[in-house]
C-alpha cells in the first residue's frame, strides 16, 4: 500500500511531462511547417490576409511577415523546449486571433482561402477555404496548447538547473 502511494505522484509527474513533451513536439513541428511555407511565399500569404478584409492595406505585408516569423520561431522554441511556456502563450493568442478572424468572415458570408496550410493544396490538391473545418482545427490547437502554456517550462535546455 505504501509502495503504491509512493509511486503515484511520480507516475503522475512523468505522465504529464510526457504529455507536454509529446504536445510540444507535435505542435512545434506543425507550426514550423506552417510558418516556413508562409515565409517561402510571403506575397501569397499577404494577399490571403488582404482577402479577410479586416486590416488596412498598409499593415498587411508587415502582419504577414510577423505572423509567419511568429509561427516559425515559436514552433522551433516548442520543439527544442526553449521558453516553451511563453511560446505556447504567444501561439495561443495567435490561435485566438485566427479563430476570431475566420468566424467573423464566415458570419459575413465571405468565401476565400484560409491561408493555413498551403502545402496541403500544393502536395495533395486540398484547397482549404475558411469554414467550420479550419475553425474547429484551430480550436483543437488552442486546447492542445493550453497544457504547455499552463504547465510547460520556461527553461533554457543547455543551461544546468540547480536541484
Amino acid at each position: 500500500m505504501s509502495l503504491f502511494n509512493a509511486k503515484t505522484p511520480m507516475t503522475t509527474i512523468s505522465f504529464s511531462s510526457a504529455l507536454i513533451t509529446a504536445l510540444r513536439l507535435l505542435l512545434g513541428a506543425i507550426f514550423i511547417l506552417s510558418g516556413g511555407e508562409k515565409l517561402l511565399d510571403l506575397k501569397y500569404f499577404a494577399l490571403v490576409i488582404a482577402e479577410y478584409q479586416i486590416l488596412p492595406s498598409l499593415f498587411i505585408p508587415a502582419v504577414a511577415l510577423l505572423v509567419s516569423l511568429c509561427e516559425l520561431l515559436c514552433g522551433t522554441m516548442l520543439l527544442v523546449d526553449l521558453f516553451s511556456q511563453i511560446s505556447a502563450s504567444v501561439m495561443l493568442s495567435l490561435m485566438a486571433i485566427f479563430i476570431a478572424a475566420m468566424t467573423n468572415n464566415v458570419i459575413r458570408g465571405l468565401e476565400h482561402d484560409c491561408g493555413c496550410f498551403e502545402f496541403l493544396a500544393q502536395w495533395y490538391g486540398l484547397k482549404e477555404e475558411i469554414g467550420i473545418g479550419p475553425i474547429v482545427r484551430d480550436i483543437l490547437f488552442f486546447i492542445l496548447l493550453l497544457p504547455i502554456a499552463l504547465l510547460g517550462s520556461n527553461r533554457i535546455p543547455w543551461k544546468k538547473h540547480k536541484g
Binding site: K43, Y44, L47, V48, A50, E51, Q53, S57, L110, H112, D113
Partner: protein, 147 residues
C-alpha cells in the same frame, strides 16, 4: 382553269418551306445565340481568343488577388470583386474609359465577372464584355496563362 395550278403551286411551295424551316432555324440557332450573347455583353471562347490575339482588349481577372497571383490569363489585370474599391483607382489610372474590357472569373457558374463588369460600367467604362467560360475554359483550350 389557270387558278388551280397556281393554287397547287402555292400550297406546294408553302409545304416545302414549312418542311425546311425547322432545319433553317436550327442552322441559325447557333448564330443567333452568339448574337444574343454579344448583345448581352458576353463573349465566348473563340471571340475572347480573337480579342486576345488582336490585343484589342484588356483582360480583367475578377477572382481574388491570391487566385490571380497563382494563375491568370496572360497579360490580364487583377480587379477582384472583393477588393474592387481598393484596386480600382490604380486600374483607372492605367486604363481609359474607352478601353475594351473582357472580364472573366473561374468559370460559367462564378458570378464575380458579371459583378465586376457592372461595377466597371457604373464607373463609366462602356465597352465591357464578360467571358463567361472563364479561366477553366481558357486553360482547357490550351491558351496562354501565366502566374
Amino acid at each position: 382553269m389557270s387558278g388551280k395550278p397556281l393554287r397547287r403551286t402555292l400550297v406546294a411551295s408553302l409545304l416545302l418551306l414549312s418542311s425546311f424551316s425547322p432545319a433553317l432555324s436550327q442552322l441559325h440557332a447557333g448564330e443567333s445565340a452568339a448574337l444574343a450573347k454579344e448583345e448581352s455583353g458576353q463573349v465566348d471562347l473563340s471571340a475572347a481568343k480573337a480579342l486576345f490575339d488582336s490585343r484589342s482588349a484588356c483582360f480583367v481577372d475578377s477572382r481574388s488577388e491570391y487566385a490571380y497571383y497563382t494563375s491568370h490569363i496572360k497579360g490580364a489585370i487583377s480587379l477582384s470583386e472583393s477588393r474592387f474599391d481598393e484596386q480600382f483607382p490604380d486600374f483607372r489610372q492605367k486604363k481609359s474609359i474607352e478601353t475594351l474590357i473582357v472580364v472573366y472569373c473561374v468559370g460559367p457558374s462564378c458570378p464575380k465577372a458579371r459583378h465586376v463588369a457592372e461595377k466597371l460600367k457604373k464607373n463609366g467604362y462602356r465597352n465591357v464584355k464578360v467571358f463567361s467560360g472563364g479561366l477553366v475554359e481558357w486553360s482547357h483550350a490550351g491558351f496562354p496563362i501565366e502566374g
